[in-house]
């Protein structure tokens, strides 16, 4: 991909310019094994700090930080704690909306809509009616966004 080629050119330029020669030599082997998102996050920090003149050659595509299962769970629980019909002390990852927290089916619809707004993608009603605990919501989002461990 174009980003990788440009990076390789920048790397070789840096190799020739010298001071970080050792570190830069190790790096070209590593990116082939890492995912592109981690790679670009690293590239951004390194580009800005060390060689400001070479920033012109680093294209920085706008990407969100990569989602992890922990970050999804954290965001889901944060949104649920903000909901005023839920008692934040009683809320856990496995608490059922209808049985444990005493919510209505329309409340559950509102919760799923809040999740849609938070994560930015549509959840169709056929699948939304089955998501009854925060764990299930996290699982569903991880399935849709292809996040696994």
């Amino acid at each position: 991909m174009a980003a990788r080629v440009l990076q390789h050119c920048v790397r070789t330029l840096r190799l020739s310019s010298g001071p970080l020669a050792l570190r830069a030599a190790v790096v070209p082997a590593a990116p082939l094994h890492r995912a592109l998102s981690f790679y670009s996050a690293d590239r951004r920090t390194r580009c800005v700090n060390k060689f400001p003149s070479l920033d012109v050659l680093c294209r920085q595509y706008g990407q969100l930080p990569p989602l992890t299962l922990e970050s999804i769970e954290e965001r889901v629980l944060y949104v649920l704690k903000l909901y005023d019909k839920i008692n934040p002390e009683k809320l856990q990852a496995t608490s059922h909306f209808m049985k444990d927290l005493g919510l209505d089916s329309l409340d559950q619809v509102e919760i799923i809509m809040a999740m849609e707004d938070e994560f930015g993608f549509e959840i169709p009603d056929g699948e939304a009616e089955k998501l009854m605990t925060p764990d299930e919501i996290v699982q569903y989002i991880a399935d849709k966004k292809d996040i696994y461990e």
Binding site: S105, V109, M113, D125, A128, E129
Partner: protein, 128 residues
């Protein structure tokens, strides 16, 4: 009507009536949820478009109240008809075919409440 006569005649057998939209209760409830979603998302733009003096939260509570009034209904055809009426209201609200007064009518702001205890009913006249 023909359908109700047929159902009464076939007493003892299971009731088979022509559905309006949904065939069973689950499908009807799904339509209710879709309608609720549409109304929930529409409230902020309604408040802005009609320049209402209410909060978005008040509007959403009112939508919830209107839905809760019919919570007890079990017949899929009745639910379908209520959903159709709700969709008509939603369409009129989205396209601004209504006006501010029609929306505010839901909030019963200037209605005199009907008297409930004996003495108030007595004072306001014979109205059983």
């Amino acid at each position: 009507m023909a359908s109700t006569a047929a159902t009464r005649a076939a007493a003892g057998a299971s009731k088979v009536v022509k559905p309006i939209f949904s065939r069973d209760l689950d499908e009807a409830k799904r339509r209710v949820r879709e309608l609720y979603r549409a109304w929930y998302r529409e409230i902020p733009s309604t408040v802005a478009l009609f320049q209402l003096d209410i909060n978005v939260r008040t509007g959403r509570d009112k939508v919830r109240e209107m839905f809760d009034k019919n919570k007890h209904v079990n017949d899929p055809r009745v639910i379908d008809l209520l959903v159709i009426k709700g969709k008509m209201e939603l369409q009129e609200t989205i396209h601004v075919w209504k006006q501010k007064t029609h929306i505010m009518r839901f909030f019963h702001e200037s209605e005199v409440p009907r008297p409930k205890d004996f003495l108030s009913k007595f004072y306001s006249g014979h109205d059983p």
